[in-house]
């Protein structure tokens, strides 16, 4: 899948909860760089990581991720 096809609201959800990239990375047990590349749409996370991110941010995967050809 092309990374540009997947949009996300990871940054806004993270900031809304007052978390840094490093904080979120610690919560989902990945590196800060992984969070950064997902936020910047360089890397497409697996379903498992998407679910872990959603759980850590107290939201749903559908809220966090969307296809860019859909209206967000």
């Amino acid at each position: 899948m092309d990374a540009s096809e997947l949009g996300n609201r990871l940054r806004e959800e993270r900031v809304r909860r007052g978390l840094s990239q490093a904080d979120l990375a610690s919560l989902v047990r990945v590196s800060r760089k992984t969070i950064n590349t997902v936020e910047n749409r360089v890397f497409v996370p697996s379903a498992v990581l998407a679910l872990r991110l959603a759980r850590a941010l107290g939201t749903t995967v559908e809220r966090l991720f969307f296809l860019t050809d859909e209206d967000s």
Binding site: A22, A25, S26, R29, V30, S31, R32, K33, T34, T37, V42, F43, P45, S46, L49
Partner: protein, 151 residues
């Protein structure tokens, strides 16, 4: 084995290891590439029995290739605590490594095909072919990971 850092420090610790590993991959990969020039000029297989220096150079080449591949495979996390190793081997790292191995595979196939075609017309030494295939494979894998980590 190094102790596990506290949770807050864990990511900083991992980031330092990642940065250091990337720097080592870039510098060591560049030196490895440069070294090939000297190797091919000085230690190329020639007629007669190999000199001792040729054997030493061959062993050094294999050891260096192995060290670079080990660094790629572990992300610099060998002999680290399990928690550190897990983060160093997270989804992004595995994806980058998979891309590196994929690129290396195709380049090695191309080198082998080129060698096969050339061997129809000229005699090619087996050691030279093995050297060229391994060198390009290692270099492409290292360069791919270094590039992806810098994005």
């Amino acid at each position: 084995m190094n102790p596990v850092p506290k949770n807050d420090d864990l990511n900083q610790h991992v980031a330092r290891i990642e940065d250091r590993t990337t720097r080592i991959l870039i510098s060591s990969g560049a030196m490895f590439a440069l070294w090939q020039i000297g190797y091919l000029m000085l230690f190329m297989p020639r007629d007669g029995a190999p000199r001792r220096v040729d054997i030493v150079a061959g062993i050094a080449f294999v050891a260096w290739s192995g060290a670079l591949l080990m660094l790629l495979a572990t992300g610099g996390g060998a002999f680290r605590a399990r928690a550190v190793r897990e983060i160093l081997d997270d989804e992004l790292a595995r994806s980058q490594r998979a891309r590196a191995y994929q690129n290396a595979f195709w380049v090695m196939i191309l080198v082998t095909l080129a060698a096969y075609a050339a061997a129809q017309f000229v005699h090619l030494d087996a050691r030279l072919l093995a050297h060229a295939t391994l060198s390009t494979g290692v270099l492409v894998a290292v360069a791919t990971v270094a590039f992806l980590r810098r994005r």
